[in-house]
């Protein structure tokens, strides 16, 4: 391959990378950014889209060029050049991907630390899941609800537990997801089984969202939803004051936090949507 060909292929790769990147960056893939963490995650995704476009373009340009250039003419029964390899080239295409993935790993670790950083002041919410319903307790005020309400801009410290099988907490606009594991204890987050059941998120766009169960939990899995409302501090306080006391629910929810299979059912009449 001559230098001119090499430069032409490089130019084609750059152009294709640019075009692919631009097209792929236009749509807002993950939807509304409803939390303080969303922006970091979406930026990471955008960077990966550009890097991926580069890798994809290198492959496509090499392949299309080779098919166009080296296609055998009908009846040509001869063989290709006996080239067995090229150490320099092989070192290059081992090293560059290694550097790319190391960069990706470091960058992802930085983002991970950012989105999991603990705020000085946060609101604790205990999330309990059971086939096929959600319950949200606010231990600081002793209130409980089947809807998740949150004051905009405050970090939520969600403590997760499940009363039966695995469930998973996801609000797509918040970009945060974590399984609710039976056996996890609300008050001893580390627990004796090392279950990491505390997840933090800072919703900062007022509106109504869906809490979606994303871990297969039985026939009602696809309808296991709850309403999440992000509102102003004042609206939140008003709403919270109207909710039932956790204590008043004793008969229905079993004996509070520790849970366990068969520890009781969630609030009556709530079976998802």
């Amino acid at each position: 391959m001559t230098l001119t060909t090499f430069l032409r292929l490089t130019a084609a790769t750059v152009v294709l990378t640019a075009v692919t990147s631009v097209i792929m960056l236009i749509p807002n893939w993950n939807g509304l950014q409803g939390s303080a963490e969303a922006d970091d995650i979406d930026t990471l995704l955008d960077v990966m889209i550009v890097l991926s476009s580069l890798v994809f373009s290198v492959v496509i340009v090499m392949m299309v060029y080779a098919i166009w250039k080296y296609r055998a003419k009908p009846g040509d029964e001869s063989d290709g050049e006996p080239i067995h390899g090229n150490t320099k080239l092989e070192v290059i295409w081992t090293t560059i991907p290694t550097l790319i993935v190391i960069f990706a790993a470091v960058y992802a670790t930085v983002v991970l630390n950012d989105i999991e950083a603990e705020a000085a002041d946060s609101l604790r919410v205990d999330v309990t899941a059971q086939q096929y319903a959600w319950r949200f307790d606010y231990p600081d005020t002793g209130r409980t609800s089947t809807e998740l309400h949150a004051p905009s801009g405050t970090q939520l410290e969600l403590h997760l537990q499940s009363l039966d099988v695995l469930h998973s907490f996801w609000v797509p606009e918040w970009r945060i997801k974590r399984d609710l594991v039976p056996g996890a204890s609300l008050d001893d987050p580390a627990g004796d089984q090392d279950i990491d059941n505390v997840v933090r998120v800072t919703p900062d766009v007022e509106g109504t969202y869906s809490v979606i169960c994303t871990e297969l939990c039985g026939f009602g899995h696809s309808t296991m939803r709850a309403v999440a409302v992000v509102e102003s501090d004042q609206q939140f306080e008003t709403w919270l004051a109207e909710q039932k006391d956790v204590e008043g629910l004793d008969g229905q929810v079993g004996n509070g936090a520790a849970g366990g299979i068969g520890a009781g059912s969630l609030a009556e009449g709530d079976s998802g949507e």
Binding site: Y70, G80, H84, T98, I102
Partner: protein, 644 residues
């Protein structure tokens, strides 16, 4: 006693199955009676009256069918029946339904059987796509839907992709290394016959109380430990498929290490052999873990153990650790043999040696090592101890490096080549590179924890897994079947129909699986029978493409069946390939080689004047012009790819 009942075969096999069933049933009744338990109480005890016979009946069948005859005679000290090799070869279609120890017959048995399960799994997917074409519930209720995607994945993974690669390698690999058969032909036949047992158990789950297993192919505890009876059939079916897989892997390892033709050093092995060596190492190391995980779930269900029951002190998350310690390497078990196939096809149809052969082989071994150190990337949101996430992210991303080496080396092989892209196997190989790169890119994204947190358990995952398993594994399976079809059947397939099959499959595959990325990122979780109305349009498009994808496979079946019967004669070496299987007739003689071939050079010496990979001694001497005899690995010569 009638002859049919004394001779190994179907009559004695079915009788054995009945006796096995009765034995298992009687055992449960007797033990319960002795223990003073209520004899027929079933709901509370996990149905032992069905579970135990579900183990004993398949073994009864295998014993009756003749799978153990030789070993039993040996164990009993009776004179073994001298193996007159009457069970070798297949002379009519009926011979494929016998206990046959010929690796070529077993290879075809594998391919046809696993293809049946491919079609079955595909039909289940069609029903799912019919349900998902519109929001709401139209075709099946959510309970049935959960059973559909669980069995779809179980058939596709355990009974199609993993074993069909074993089938293709079973046929091709002994020929490729110049061996007369596999190292343990009887074990080989037993490995095959274990597979239909697993398939029957999976299928049987549809007719037992509570319906088919519906906790996903992942069978996460405690959903699985508390699921209806069908789940036990999954636990047991996996044991049969897993045992088959492990026995085959051991067979390949011994065959590859001990039975290579004289002159075939490790650095002269074709890459398909390297790939199956690597895969077998993974199977032997990893598959026992899924067997263990499923036994633990079964014991929790039937025996009242507490491995994964949180309320009784069990550890829920440890199921996922054990499960993924197999099931992540399983992804490579389902991909490395395909890498091998693609290397053979690309080298042959580009008329060029593989670029960087040694690095290609080393990349396979690199993947084997890394594959055991990435499992927890499936658990970034599972609530496992947080410290394990970053190390697993790093190893996960590093796997992109050896995988990238393979992609770039295939592309390097295309340069300065004489490319023949009219053969369907080459189209599938080139198509594979494109689709697999897309699947690899989404895989790297999934490896990054912050992105994974958002898209985990969404349709993005469904898109990714189908890009690597359909765009990856299945494309290479088609490439392999088209490539060796002339060798297996002695006839050519219809290339025009092959092109239709390829293009329809490629377009429909992209149309089906690309939009899944989008709806997943936008908020559609996976494994749901119903979804928010906003995803309706995309789901309809996906369903339409998936039906085209399903229909396109009918072209393949028609092509294979008709060509096998009526195709033009293929000749020994229609692709003018260099590896040893093309030196013998198509189909090969019963014992492969009248004389053991001698390997005199690298496997892909295209373009080197007079160079040969192997010679049969009837060939004239003096073909050895490929440079110094590389008896010492690392000696300079045309086959020392890495240093070229």
């Amino acid at each position: 006693m009638p002859v049919a009942l004394r001779q190994a075969g179907w009559t004695r096999g079915l009788l054995g199955a009945m006796i096995g069933w009765g034995f298992g049933f009687g055992l449960v009744v007797a033990l319960r009676a002795i223990s003073g338990l209520e004899i027929f109480q079933t709901e509370q005890t996990g149905y032992p009256h069905l579970i135990v016979p579900a183990v004993t009946a398949p073994f009864g069948f295998l014993i009756g069918f003749g799978a153990f005859d030789y070993w039993f005679r040996w164990a009993a000290g009776k004179p073994t029946i001298p193996d007159d090799h009457s069970s070798h070869g297949a002379y009519s279609w009926k011979d494929y339904f016998k206990f046959n120890t010929d690796h070529k017959v077993i290879g075809i048995q594998y391919i046809v059987t696993t293809f049946f399960f491919f079609l079955l799994g595909g039909l289940l997917a069609m029903v799912m796509r019919a349900e998902l074409a519109q929001p709401g519930t139209q075709v099946v209720d959510p309970q049935v839907f959960n059973g559909l995607f669980s069995t779809h994945a179980a058939f596709m993974i355990f009974l199609f992709i993993v074993p069909i690669f074993a089938g293709i390698a079973n046929y091709v690999l002994p020929l490729m290394i110049g061996a007369p058969d596999m190292a343990f032909p009887r074990l080989n036949a037993l490995s095959f016959w274990l597979l239909p047992m697993g398939g029957l158990l999976f299928m049987a789950s549809y007719v037992v109380p509570g319906g088919a297993f519906d906790a996903g192919w992942t069978g996460y505890a405690p959903l699985s430990t508390g699921a209806p009876l069908g789940q036990s059939f999954f636990n047991l079916g996996v044991q049969f498929a897993g045992a088959s897989s492990i026995a085959t892997a051991l067979n390949f390892l011994v065959t590859i290490v001990t039975m290579r033709a004289p002159g075939m050093s490790f650095w002269r092995m074709p890459l398909l052999v390297w790939a199956n060596l690597s895969t077998s190492l993974l199977v032997v190391g990893a598959t026992p873990f899924i067997a263990g995980a499923q036994f633990m779930v079964l014991f929790d269900r039937v025996l009242g153990t507490n491995f994964f029951q949180a309320a009784a002190g069990g550890d829920v998350i440890s199921y996922q650790h054990i499960f993924w310690f197999y099931s992540h390497p399983a992804v490579y078990i389902m991909m490395l043999p395909g890498f091998g196939i693609v290397s053979e096809v690309i080298s042959t149809h580009a008329r060029k040696t593989i670029f960087g052969y040694r690095l290609m082989a080393l990349a396979l071994l690199g993947i084997v090592v890394l594959a055991f150190a990435v499992w927890a990337h499936h658990m970034f949101v599972a609530g496992m101890f947080a410290w394990l996430r970053v190390p697993m992210m790093i190893t996960t991303l590093l796997i992109a490096v050896p995988t990238g080496i393979k992609i770039f080396s295939w592309l390097g092989t295309l340069f300065d080549s004489k490319l023949h892209i009219q053969s369907t196997s080459m189209l599938f190989s080139l198509g594979f590179i494109v689709t697999f790169v897309i699947g690899g890119i989404s895989g790297v994204m999934l490896g990054m924890i912050p992105i994974d947190i958002h898209v985990s358990d969404t349709y993005f995952i469904v898109a990714h897994i189908h890009f690597v398993l359909f765009g990856g594994s299945v494309f290479t399976i088609f490439a392999g079947i088209y490539h060796w079809f002339p060798k297996m059947t002695g006839r050519m397939y219809d290339e025009r129909l092959g092109h239709w099959h390829f293009w329809l499959t490629l377009v429909a595959m992209l149309g089906t699986f690309i939009p899944m990325h989008w709806i997943g990122m936008d908020g559609m979780p996976r494994r749901v029978a119903d979804y928010a109305a906003q995803f309706g349009d995309w789901n309809l498009i996906i369903s339409v493409f998936s039906f085209i994808l399903g229909a396109a496979q009918l072209i393949f079946i028609y092509n294979m069946i008709v060509s096998w019967r009526y195709g033009p004669k293929a000749g020994d070496n229609p692709w003018r390939a260099k590896t040893i299987e093309w030196l013998v007739s198509s189909p090969p003689p019963v014992f492969n080689f009248d004389e053991i071939p001698r390997v005199v050079g690298g496997p892909y010496e295209f373009g080197v004047h007079g160079a040969k990979h192997a010679i049969l001694s009837s060939d004239h001497e003096g073909a050895e012009v490929t440079g110094p005899e590389p008896a010492v690995a690392g000696a300079a010569g045309p086959d020392s790819g890495g240093s070229g």
